[in-house]
């Protein structure tokens, strides 16, 4: 089950560059939340702060409060603990190229020392089914490399890999931007199915995508959260002039 995320006054820097300014918002549990905005607006940096991935970049730091349920992720936990509870799917599919499909899905458990084969088998099957990939790969689980399947399949493999560690939150950083329309539709179907069990945060360049999958949408501009509201409101009756300009295609 997912947890809600409460962000208060989050700031982030890459070296001297201040990329995120005082962002505060509340992401409800077991819903999909979309983050839109032009390139470089800070939406990717924002999601990378939610699993403390941001700080792995050289010179990067973040400051503020992020509560995941009751847990203050910057005070009460290590990055490794947080990332076990928060799955992440990246812009480009990034399966482990030297591992089989099976090992890719099992990697989160195996590389954390979990070895029980029977349970691993179950988790791999369940996760691949959740990611709607099982039927396509079940005969090649240990024969094929994770990098040998198509791009769309690789991205669903990455989703399965993230789900296998049973996270509460799933962060998706433009998960379909490198995929063709058919694969994109499959990913969106998945998000739709998964959001009843996980808190999903999805960064997207594609406004129709946000409208299709997310209950709430946040609009970022130049490192600031301009507006955060139910998706229908953002797209039909935004309160801020800049949001309206962006969604009507006047810039960005």
């Amino acid at each position: 089950m997912g947890v809600d995320i409460r962000v208060e006054n989050l700031n982030a820097w890459y070296g001297p560059v201040h990329t995120l300014h005082d962002v505060s918002l509340h992401i409800p549990a077991n819903h999909a939340t979309a983050l839109i905005g032009p390139s470089g607006c800070g939406k990717s940096t924002f999601v990378r702060c939610l699993n403390r991935m941001h700080e792995t970049s050289p010179g990067a730091r973040a400051d503020g409060t992020v509560l995941m349920g009751d847990l203050d992720i910057y005070k009460d936990a290590t990055p490794v603990e947080i990332r076990r509870r928060v799955g992440m799917v990246f812009q480009r599919p990034n399966p482990f190229p030297t591992m089989s499909i099976y090992d890719n899905v099992a990697s989160g458990l195996k590389l954390n020392g979990f070895r029980k084969k029977r349970i691993l088998d179950e988790v791999v099957e369940r996760s691949l089914k959740q990611a709607a990939l099982w039927d396509e790969v079940k005969d090649d689980l240990k024969k094929k490399s994770g990098a040998s399947i198509s791009g769309g399949q690789q991205q669903r493999l990455c989703i399965a890999r993230a789900l296998a560690v049973d996270p509460e939150v799933l962060l998706m950083d433009e998960p379909a931007s490198a995929l063709d329309p058919v694969s994109t539709a499959k990913i969106e179907d998945l998000i739709f199915k998964l959001k009843s069990q996980y808190t999903i945060v999805i960064v997207t360049h594609n406004m129709q995508q946000a409208a299709r999958v997310a209950e709430n949408t946040g609009f970022f501009l130049m490192g600031k959260l301009v507006e955060f509201a139910p998706t229908t409101k953002i797209f039909t009756n935004p309160s801020d002039k800049r949001t309206e300009d962006y969604i009507t295609g006047r810039f960005g």
């Binding site: 990055p79 990332r83 990246f90 990697s107 490399s145 990098a147 890999r161």
Partner: protein, 295 residues
């Protein structure tokens, strides 16, 4: 739409001709360079076969050297001795080299200590091998007051380290950042990510680097002159002087006796074949069960 002919895209006949010619010239130069690289290799190997093969017999692989004047005898002790020295050198040098390479690539990016280690490795790579032998002599042989196979292994191990370190670093640098982030994003600790994801992804290149280092030191004579020293008899005691193929070849080749010259040729042939065989074996072994990516 059909492609437009070159002319109508504003490319004159002359320019098209020149481009074609350049293409042929560059391709030709690449072919010539390849031949220039291959010819000496094939020539050396062929000459070794011609001079050495006739002196090879079973005794060469089963007997120890005999005194001057007696015929027969072999280099069995030197073959085994080389194996022992190289085995220990690899055991010492490869882990240290890989460890240093991991440090440089994964932990020391942009630090002054990293830059210092990298610079040291490059300088060490250029140090003449005889100096390595003298260093091992000063550090080990002079203190223990006797030559030893161990000292030879240490000298060769030090020579292996810079090559292994730099190739490990280079190969780890080719592992995409996205693959590392995938592992970190799953809550896998950094040390585990380095071991099971970065190193594993880079392993084919790292193994090649280790093999290059191995092949390079396998034929080294100079570092062994003051350390392993050589031995005419069976001895596998790493604390004592020990025979090695390059040393035996060196001694035999400098001797005035025809019989020893023939054995030196045979020894050189055996040395090269053994190096090729071990490199090939490691490659086959390392490639077993490795899944190949599609893109």
């Amino acid at each position: 739409m059909d492609a437009l002919p070159l002319r109508s895209r504003g490319v004159s006949n002359f320019v098209a001709l020149r481009r074609n010619l350049t293409n042929h010239v560059v391709t030709g130069m690449a072919i010539i360079s390849t031949i220039l690289v291959l010819v000496p290799l094939v020539a050396i190997f062929g000459y070794l076969l011609y001079k050495g093969a006739s002196s090879l017999n079973l005794a060469f692989f089963t007997h120890v050297p005999v005194p001057v004047g007696e015929s027969g005898g072999g280099m069995a002790n030197a073959i085994v001795g080389s194996g022992v020295i190289l085995g220990l050198a690899s055991l010492l040098g490869i882990p240290v080299g890989i460890g240093a390479g991991v440090y440089l690539a994964e932990y020391a990016r942009g630090t002054w200590l990293g830059a210092a280690v990298r610079f040291t490795a490059d300088v060490l790579n250029g140090v003449p091998s005889i100096v390595m032998g003298l260093a091992a002599y000063a550090l080990i042989v002079a203190r223990q007051q006797h030559f030893s196979g161990m000292a030879g292994s240490v000298a060769l191990a030090i020579m292996m380290v810079p090559t292994v370190t730099r190739t490990t670093e280079e190969m780890l640098a080719t592992v995409p950042k996205s693959v590392r982030e995938a592992a970190l994003g799953l809550g896998i600790p950094k040390w585990r990510t380095v071991l099971s994801v970065s190193l594993r992804t880079a392993s084919p290149g790292i193994i090649t680097g280790c093999m290059l280092a191995f092949a390079r030191v396998a034929g080294e004579t100079a570092p062994l002159l003051f350390t392993a020293f050589g031995n005419q008899f069976w001895s596998f005691d790493l604390n004592q002087p020990i025979a090695a193929l390059p040393l035996q070849i060196y001694v035999y080749a400098l001797s005035p006796y025809d019989e020893w010259h023939r054995l030196a040729w045979a020894g050189a042939l055996v040395l090269i074949v053994l190096i090729m065989a071990s490199v090939t074996l490691v490659r086959i072994f390392a490639n077993r069960g490795v899944l190949k990516g599609g893109n």
